[in-house]
């Protein structure tokens, strides 16, 4: 991520970081155990395949309907929210969004911000932006808090500290908060509770994300288990919600299936402990709640994905994390290997639109296209198809006008020439048979180290006779 962040040293490529992660047995175990458990929880939460598939289809149609009228719905949302007393702001870039947030805080002369969990604020790197301006911005989701305390970034969008075990958290709390070490998870959580409650009390501003923004009623819906989302949006005098422009849905009732899909896909829960629907600031006769509520609508590359009908489907995402839970690559390398805010399959398909393919050139190729992600996506984003499309955009020459930000990041004349050669080999029967003849005859003479393949495999040895040969001999014999 940006140079501003005092994160631990990371090498600068997906592959480089993956090598480090793969060598870390503790990390591998932490992820494997966690992902196995999350997969099981999801499976248990959807015991009826028919019900699940019907609901996924409905979720897909609801999101598609919302996207098909996105600009209108955003305007409707703005109108309703404004009527409810919420101030709506628009930002094309992270920088703009941060400026808006900062100016709201500044107007209140605020110095302490407490944050409910918000991936969009991670995307904006809001904590660092505000810290540079002498405003403390504290994470209050337990996982996010742990990660922030250790100067790290979340490694999972739902379970930010999933890469750490209790011993690592215990040591961290001991070092940073001066408390005694404990292996009791309950005690660790109570330490977090006490520390953060004081912060909720003192905070001038609360920041949250949004799971669904409902255009019909002008409502911001947030799901959570801990209560920190309710705290952040209720206790401080000002609440700023930040969200991507794709989070708007048309009706309140559209939320019913989406909510069910979200919590069951993410954590296997029928519902989260809290579902918080906020439709405005404190009214004249009310005794608590923020006096001001702001919504910042962020684009940050989303309109780029939106411009292309195929890639637009990326914006169906409701951020459940099921794709990463089921991804064999993510499970092995963990979230930090992706080097960006959104890891896993969804990270691979959304990040290029945000930061450009030059910054994440390996994102589209770091997948075996096994399809596990697409199979579990609650809103049926065809993730493998998106990855394939991004691969196309990634290898386009400048003349082919890539349609994704910084497309052509992997364009190479040499590689293109190899594929041209491959195509001519496979379209010319004579050439292909000549190749077979050579390969079967001289295959054994091939070098024993043929690039990366032989790092994990013995050198492939072609058979002595190709199927072309064998089939011809066999079938001719049969004819006689």
């Amino acid at each position: 991520m940006s140079q501003r962040i005092p994160v631990k040293e990371l090498t600068d490529s997906f592959r480089g970081r993956a090598v480090g992660a793969l060598a870390d047995d503790q990390l591998r175990t932490n992820f494997r155990v966690a992902m196995d458990s999350l997969m099981k929880k999801r499976a248990d939460a959807f015991p009826d395949e028919e019900e699940r598939e019907g609901l996924r289809e409905l979720g897909n149609h609801i999101k598609a309907r919302a996207l098909s009228r996105l600009p209108d719905l955003l305007e409707q949302l703005e109108t309703r929210l404004t009527a409810n007393g919420v101030k709506v702001h628009w930002a094309e870039t992270n920088e703009e969004a941060n400026r808006i947030v900062h100016s709201i805080i500044e107007a209140k002369q605020g110095s302490q911000v407490v944050k409910g969990k918000s991936m969009v604020s991670e995307e904006m790197e809001m904590n660092d932006y505000l810290a540079e301006r002498h405003i403390e911005c504290l994470e209050s989701d337990m996982g996010e808090y742990i990660v922030q305390l250790d100067g790290e970034k979340p490694s999972h969008i739902i379970m930010p500290a999933i890469h750490k075990n209790r011993f690592q958290v215990s040591r961290l709390f001991h070092d940073k908060l001066g408390v005694d070490e404990t292996e009791d998870v309950n005690e660790l959580i109570q330490i977090g509770r006490r520390t953060l409650r004081q912060k909720f009390l003192e905070a001038d501003v609360g920041v949250s994300g949004v799971n669904f923004a409902i255009a019909e009623t002008g409502t911001l819906l947030l799901v959570e288990n801990e209560g920190n989302g309710r705290m952040s949006t209720t206790a401080p005098p000002v609440h700023i919600a930040v969200t991507g422009i794709e989070k708007v849905v048309e009706n309140l009732r559209d939320v019913v299936p989406l909510l069910s899909l979200l919590t069951r896909s993410a954590l296997g829960q029928p519902i989260t402990t809290y579902v918080n629907m906020i439709s405005g600031p404190r009214k004249a006769d009310e005794l608590d709640g923020p006096e001001e509520v702001h919504l910042v609508l962020l684009d940050n590359g989303r309109s780029g994905a939106f411009a292309d009908a195929q890639l637009r489907q990326t914006l169906n995402c409701i951020r459940c994390g099921a794709c990463m839970n089921h991804c064999p690559v993510y499970t092995r390398v963990g979230g930090h290997t992706y080097g960006e805010v959104y890891p896993g399959p969804i990270g691979k398909i959304i990040t290029p639109h945000m930061v450009g393919l030059h910054k994440v050139p390996d994102h589209p190729s770091a997948s075996s296209l096994c399809g596990a992600c697409g199979e579990v996506c609650p809103v049926k984003i065809p993730i493998p198809e998106m990855l394939q499309r991004l691969r196309q955009e990634n290898v386009k020459s400048p003349a082919e006008q890539p349609k994704v930000k910084d497309g052509g990041a992997k364009y190479s004349r040499k590689e293109r020439a190899i594929w041209r050669f491959w195509a001519s080999l496979n379209t010319s029967p004579v050439f292909y048979r000549l190749f077979l003849w050579g390969a079967t005859r001289f295959g054994k003479l091939a070098p024993k180290n043929v690039g990366p393949w032989t790092e994990n495999h013995s050198a492939p040895v072609p058979a002595r006779r190709s199927l072309h040969d064998l089939a011809k001999a066999h079938l001719n014999q049969g004819d006689r």
Binding site: N30, A34, S37, G54, L55, L58, A64, R65, S68, R69, P71, D72, L74, E75, W90, E92, M142, I146, M159, A161, K164, V185, N186, L188, I189, R193, F200, L201, T217, N225, E226, G227, R230, M231, T233, T234, A235, P237, N251, D254, V256, S260, P270, T273, Y274, V275, M277, I278, S279, G280, K283, E286, L287, D288, G289, D299, S303, F306, A307, D308
Partner: protein, 223 residues
């Protein structure tokens, strides 16, 4: 050009020449799997809420204030926040008057700013009403207002919620339709489905993350 018009223009350009998708919402998909016989509704709600450490008691409308007293006393709590302006608040106050010294009754009768420190650290418990329950997911519906403000169900470590058995609906969709939520929502509508919890460390479930450590639901049978 403003960010607003830039964003909207880009989105409109992407949709040029297209028509909005039809609304093909199929309510059967969110209702049919989640329907219960009236006698099963409470059972379902109970089992789901108990599975996430909610304590549940089924009582008559007369019994519940003494249950509250018992819950507080058995825990050795010194005070409880209640809403005197509500029917159930009045009932609780009456019960309190009839008996010996009890845990102190506290009232949320001034803006949060005037007693934030106390509310954050000194209040042991609260009693609030609900506007209903949802069997499918094991949820309570809270509709905070001036009598029972938002933080009342969040800050005290023990939250006691009153739920009328007759107000339990099958599913969220039914609840929404029955009470016509889309016609007007309060500042903060809440679904609560257990005490506050987290699984952020090793996925080990721990209760009492930021909100109530305990949720007790008193289901009130009519009559």
């Amino acid at each position: 050009m403003s960010a607003r018009s830039n964003i909207l223009n880009k989105l409109r350009a992407g949709l040029a020449g297209t028509t909005p998708r039809p609304d093909d919402f199929d309510e059967a998909l969110v209702t049919r799997p989640w329907q219960y016989a009236p006698e099963d509704r409470i059972t379902r709600l109970r089992s789901l809420m108990e599975a996430v450490h909610t304590e549940i008691h089924q009582l008559t409308t007369e019994q519940w204030p003494s249950k509250v007293q018992e819950l507080l006393e058995s825990r050795g709590l010194k005070n409880v926040l209640y809403a005197p302006g509500t029917e159930h608040g009045k009932q609780l106050a009456e019960h309190w008057q009839r008996a010996e010294p009890r845990p102190e009754l506290l009232v949320y009768d001034r803006p949060i700013e005037e007693w934030k420190e106390e509310l954050f650290w000194q209040v042991d418990a609260s009693v609030t009403g609900t506007v209903g329950g949802i069997a499918a997911t094991g949820s309570l519906v809270l509709w905070p207002d001036r009598h029972e403000p938002r933080l009342m169900s969040l800050l005290p470590p023990l939250h006691i919620a009153l739920l009328k058995a007759s107000e339990v609906e099958d599913n969220l969709y039914g609840m929404m339709q029955k009470h016509n939520w889309s016609a007007g929502l309060p500042t903060n509508l809440l679904l609560v489905s257990g005490p506050s919890k987290t699984a952020d460390i090793e996925q080990v479930l721990a209760y009492g993350a930021h909100g109530p450590k305990e949720l007790v639901v008193l289901i009130l049978e009519d009559g």
